[in-house]
């Protein structure tokens, strides 16, 4: 089951630069929330803070009601590149998170095989990452995350390097397997369509220092498929987010122009 995530006045300063404005947020258990915003606005920073990978932030983060102190065993992180270990087979990569948790070899290979089956890769279990396509590699990373039965999944532009069709297919696939586990998801993307298609809630962030400028619920049926993007509510939402992002991007550009 998913877990609640709460941020109280969380901010992050790098040297003199305020990367993330104090942010207060509350995510309900089992919800899929997408973060969009101009480049450099602090999306990765926010995600890394919740992952326990970015120390030295201000404010407080609660995961499942418990203050966060560092990485959690039940938080799964999906990175932009698949972050697979090239010297390990697909199944040993999928089993790596369990190996880190010292699950015995036989048991972790069973679980890894099962999660590989869920992402449609069981036939490739004994292959090496360089023998897979980019989309398949990212599926292995998803399998690795699923293997630990996470209650919180953090994904930072996981499909950013893939083509449009693969991106949609993998996004819906991720949504399907995540729904089965009921995990809470925070998902960062640059694609507004992807955000609308996958999420229950969209947070739009301003240019640096990042701050949430729109917090919108997505009222689409639980069963998502690409045709839903033609839904009037979906097109309206895409328009709205797009308008906000353009304004932010323009502002960022003029600010840069002024300082040059």
């Amino acid at each position: 089951m998913g877990v609640a995530v709460e941020l109280h006045e969380v901010d992050r300063v790098y040297g003199e630069v305020l990367a993330l404005d104090p942010t207060t947020l509350s995510l309900a258990p089992g919800t899929f929330t997408t973060l969009v915003g101009p480049s450099g606005c602090g999306k990765s920073t926010l995600l890394d803070i919740v992952a326990g990978l970015n120390q030295g932030y201000g404010g407080e983060v609660l995961v499942g009601g418990t203050p966060l102190t560092g990485p959690r065993a039940h938080t799964g992180v999906i990175f932009q590149e698949a972050a697979l270990l090239p010297w390990r087979t697909v199944i040993d990569n999928a089993a790596f998170a369990l190996e880190a948790q010292k699950v015995p070899r036989q048991k972790r290979r069973e679980v890894a095989f099962e999660v590989l089956r869920r992402v449609g890769l069981s036939e490739f279990a004994e292959k090496y990452p360089h023998q897979l396509s980019g989309g398949m590699r990212q599926r292995v990373a998803i399998a690795r995350v699923l293997s630990t039965e996470p209650d919180l999944i953090l994904a930072d532009e996981p499909f950013g390097a893939l083509d449009e069709q693969t991106r949609v297919i993998l996004g819906l696939e991720l949504l399907r397997v995540v729904r089965q586990t009921g995990a809470t998801v925070i998902f960062v993307t640059h694609s507004i369509q992807e955000a609308v298609l996958l999420s229950d809630r969209i947070l739009v962030m301003s240019a640096r220092p990042g701050r949430v400028v729109l917090d919108a619920d997505v009222h689409l049926p639980a069963e998502r498929d690409p045709s839903l993007l033609a839904d009037p509510h979906a097109t309206e939402l895409v328009e709205k987010v797009w308008g906000l992002l353009r304004a932010e991007a323009e502002e960022a550009l003029t600010r840069q122009g002024g300082s040059v």
């Binding site: 992952a51 326990g52 990978l53 560092g70 990485p71 065993a73 938080t75 992180v77 990175f79 932009q80 590149e81 972050a83 270990l85 090239p86 010297w87 087979t89 790596f96 998170a97 190996e99 880190a100 948790q101 090496y128 360089h130």
Partner: protein, 268 residues
């Protein structure tokens, strides 16, 4: 697609020059040189005292190889010293590399020294080492290790630097212990560069040991050769040189083959 695949293709279609493959050329050249070394002394083109015919050198080297005392006082100490220096330089080099990589301030202090290290004629400190450690196995191994270790240190640091940042982040998010992180992520990521360093270290160990034995030692293959040359014992001298060449070549080949096999296993 992969580099292995490409190189496999290349080896299939080896270009031929003047009717010979590259390997064919190498073999013919070696045969030519050996024939010259054999017949030039016999035909009187070269003074056969200064350079005996190759077959005689070969026979002499063969005799040395079945000579018990030669093994005990010369060959064995040399091989032992080479082996020890190589193993110590490899292990310590990787460990020091890991430590320097892990602690950037330390690395900043040491880096300039590593860069200029091989410009320093290390054999110049040999008298000092003799004063401190005497003559015998210890100073020889010490010097050869000093010569070999920096190649391993720099190669290890290079390899660790090439670990993708995402993989390091993954290891943080999975909360790997320092040892698990080192064994399961850092070393496998760096293994190719470390291999390069180990090959250099093997050569440096061989050079370091032989050179030290040449300069100052009472036994060992290096001493055997320098002693033979001082006493104009050309048979022993050339026999010893031939053995050095054979051992150096053989060790390098064996080690390269071993590394290729292991790397293929580690990296699929």
């Amino acid at each position: 697609m992969s580099a292995a695949h490409r190189s496999a293709n290349r080896s299939v279609q080896r270009p031929r020059r003047l009717g010979l493959t590259p390997r064919g050329w190498i073999v013919s050249l070696i045969i030519l040189v050996l024939a010259y070394l054999e017949f030039a002394p016999r035909l009187g083109w070269i003074d056969s005292f200064s350079l005996p015919p190759f077959s005689e050198i070969l026979v002499h080297a063969g005799k040395l190889l079945v000579d018990g005392p030669f093994w005990a006082t010369d060959l064995f100490p040399t091989l032992l010293a080479m082996g020890l220096s190589f193993v110590i330089a490899s292990l310590l080099g990787v460990i020091i590399g890991l430590i320097l990589w892990r602690f950037p301030p330390l690395r900043r202090v040491v880096d300039p020294w590593l860069t200029v290290y091989y410009a320093i004629p290390i054999f110049a400190v040999y008298p000092m080492i003799v004063v401190l450690a005497g003559v015998g196995l210890v100073p020889i191994v010490f010097l050869a290790t000093l010569l070999a270790i920096v190649a391993v240190i720099t190669a290890t640091i290079d390899g660790l630097d090439s670990t993708p940042p995402m993989v390091l982040k993954l290891s943080d998010s999975l909360q790997l212990s320092p040892i698990a992180r080192t064994v399961k992520i850092l070393l496998p990521s760096a293994v190719e560069q470390i291999n390069v360093g180990l090959r250099l270290a093997l050569s440096f160990s061989i050079i370091g040991v032989l050179a030290s034995e040449f300069i100052l030692s009472t036994h060992g293959l290096g001493h055997f050769i320098s002693n033979a040359s001082e006493h104009f014992n050309m048979g022993n001298m050339y026999g010893g040189i031939l053995l050095v060449l054979i051992f150096a070549f053989g060790l390098n080949m064996a080690f390269s083959a071993l590394l290729r096999k292991r790397t293929r296993r580690i990296q699929g």
